[in-house]
Amino acid sequence: MSGAIATPPLPLSARLAKSWATLKRNHIGFVICALGPVLLLFGLIRLYPIAETFRLSFYDYHITRRSSPFVGLGNYAYLFEDSPFHDALINTICFAAFAVVGTLLLALAAAVLLRSIEKAAPVLEMLFYIPVVTPWVPASVIWKWIFDPTYGALNYALSFFGIPRLGWLQDPVLILFALVVVSIWKMVGYFIVIFGVGLRAIPEELLEAADLDGATAWQKLRGIVLPLLRPIILFSVVTCTIININVFAPVYVLTASSQGAPAYDFKVLVGEIYSNGFVYYHMGYAGAQCVVLLLFVMSLLFVQFLAFREK
């Protein structure tokens, strides 16, 4: 005898719409549904390997041995006495510092110049971009020939100026600059495009107003262009730093040789990790080096974010 009136069931489309509305109201549920699969994949592909590397760094995990004893901080302690690791750290810092500064200064200068020749800019940007899409290995092989001490194009060109033959890839000092040149050649086109986008976003009126006020080109660059480019510069510095700290392929190809006449063994951090993991099979120790590299890069990025933060 209840007075309740039975409501007719809603059609499927209406029920779905209602569920969707409820889900949207319940913000957390919506976020989980929308981002859950992506986060799950991110966790599996990105975070899990990092966590596993971190775990392995506490073990004497040798890839071809069955037992992997726990060694606590032993692998980290060994980092302090491992002189090849110290060499690699110093080399990587020097290489990255020269490569980042060189790449970004050159890219910024080129982007500013290209802005003054708007018609030719797209074609020139494309030309500068060609090395970016060239794979590292063939690019490095070409540079290896350029740097060849006996038959290389660079020594041949320098000979016209009376400069004696130099072992660009054989000398411990020259090889640093040779690698920096290759890195700049490879990446400068990418950052020219990035800076170009940033420059085009600067309102023309600001620059015209500065012209009316009699500002010089340098004053416009310092007072208008660079401050407005700050977010683009931050992005570029961060990206370029990560790329160059993780350098491996060009060093590997430029310094290796199947004929047993390789170049100077220029040690870099990722190369050391590769050697310890896959040549000497000390996976646990390589894991400790990975963790240190991760912390090192994150610290650098933190400093960069602080330095470029909006005031």
């Binding site: 890839i63 069955r66 090849p84 033959r165 000398d171 199947s258 006449a261 100077y264 040549v279």
Partner: protein, 441 residues
């Protein structure tokens, strides 16, 4: 309805696909895929040549041969074998062999092949020992690479030298005579192209001369299997090592200079005619012929001093313990012992097959450059790297110390400085061996 049909069809196809995979996965040793990975791809033609005969024995087995760069190969193998994804036939270089033996990854060698390996008339015991434990072989040593002296006949004639150097003293003396310099004093042609880069290879070449000066290798097998002892500080050896380092430095800096970093080096340098002498393995013959067709050269044994002998490397054919193709794999290894396939190894790669019961005289008649590698020389001792799990790391890091010293001109006529370098090299090697638990005092 249509959607259901599609789903049902898809499920049916998937099931059919799974069912179709089953026979291939079944444990039938006479069908499936037999996988071989090579770190020395130049030997692949011998495997390819043996395939028709193998196919007659096993028509349903597909043989997959993959070649990699040597270091890549070693890295891939080290990851794949422990996880059960490696090849069926393991082509193991002597210094990586211990990793797979220690990890129990190798199948027992069949009795007939073990008998061949253990027969000193067929396989030199030096090569048998490197893959044997407690008298039992765990693979079949197949080919070797051995070091010899390459010398440019035209350069020797031009310098008035009638034949290759026979002693270490002559080697340095000839190198000085053969060196050509520009007006500014820079070297245009190296008297001998020395190994000045890459730690492991650099130490090996230093070790070539150290051996003949001392009768010992820098790293030698210790009293227990897998252990290694360092001979650098043994009585008499340290003086020889110091002298050798001083000789190197004297010939890289100053008036006796015979080589320079800014020259094309090693086999490439020799093949290009910018070096008169080179110490290298057999494979370099084919390389020089191909890349320096105008170069007239000969080969000779490594010069002697207190001792006389040469470094050898060996490739061992083993079968993975978890392979489902053990019998076919061993049968293929049996086939590869036949004369025609060994001829192909020699012709295509230059590596010398180890079977002493096979005849390579016809090949030698046509290829006299192989004389130093193929003809047995009384009193000339073949030696190998001591098999151990830390070999690559120990030689690379120790070599880095020695190679850095080559660049140090302050070591010219500086025995105390050279002695400090040798001590540092000893400590570097000792630390690595201790860390791996294989150091023998």
């Amino acid at each position: 309805m249509k959607r259901r049909t599609v789903l049902a069809g898809g499920a049916g196809l998937a099931l059919a696909g799974l069912a179709g995979q089953r026979p291939a996965r079944a444990a039938d040793p006479m069908s499936g895929r037999l996988s071989i990975w090579l770190g020395y791809g130049e030997t692949a033609p011998a495997y390819q040549q043996a395939l028709p005969a193998f196919k007659q024995m096993y028509p349903n087995i597909q043989v997959e041969i993959l070649s990699f760069d040597l270091h890549e190969y070693e890295a891939k193998l080290s990851v794949a074998v422990p996880t059960g994804n490696g090849p069926d036939i393991l082509t193991l270089h002597d210094y990586v062999f211990p990793h797979y033996y220690d990890n129990d990854s190798l199948d027992d060698v069949p009795a007939d092949l073990a008998k061949v390996v253990n027969d000193p008339k067929i396989i030199d015991p030096v090569f048998r020992d490197v893959c044997s434990r407690e008298g039992k072989p765990w693979g079949v040593p197949w080919w070797k690479g051995s070091r010899a002296l390459f010398y440019n006949l035209d350069h020797f004639k031009e310098a008035g030298l009638s034949g290759p150097p026979k002693t270490m003293a002559e080697l340095w003396d000839y190198a000085e005579k053969l060196t050509r310099k520009n007006a500014d004093g820079s070297i245009s042609r190296a008297g001998i192209t020395l190994r000045l880069t890459e730690g492991s290879g650099g130490l090996q070449k230093f070790d070539d001369m150290y051996y003949v000066m001392t009768g010992h290798q820098i790293l030698e097998a210790g009293p227990k299997p897998g252990q290694v002892r360092i001979t650098l500080k043994d009585k008499g050896n340290i003086d020889a090592a110091v002298q050798l380092l001083l000789d190197y430095v004297a010939h890289l800096h100053g008036p006796k200079k015979v080589d320079d970093w800014a020259l094309k080096h090693d086999t490439q340098g020799f093949a290009n005619g910018v070096a008169s002498m080179l110490m290298r393995e057999d494979w370099a013959v084919a390389f020089i012929r191909k890349n320096g067709p105008d170069i007239h050269f000969g080969t000779a044994p490594v010069p002697r001093a207190k001792a006389w002998g040469n470094f050898n490397l060996v490739e061992i054919l083993s079968v993975s313990k978890i392979s489902k193709m053990k019998k076919p794999a061993w049968d293929l290894i049996r086939l590869l012992q036949e004369q025609k396939y060994l001829d192909t190894v020699l012709q295509e790669s230059g590596w010398v097959p180890l079977r002493m019961d096979r005849d390579f005289s016809a090949f030698l008649g046509k290829n006299p450059e192989y004389k130093a590698f193929l003809e047995p020389i009384p009193g000339y001792q073949a030696y190998l790297e001591p098999p151990n799990i830390a070999y690559v790391e120990a030689t690379t890091r120790t070599g880095d110390v020695i190679l850095a010293a080559y660049r140090d001109a302050s070591l010219l006529n500086n025995p105390a400085g050279a002695k400090a370098v040798i001590s540092k090299a000893y400590d570097t090697a000792a630390n690595i061996l201790k860390r791996s638990g294989i150091f023998a005092p």
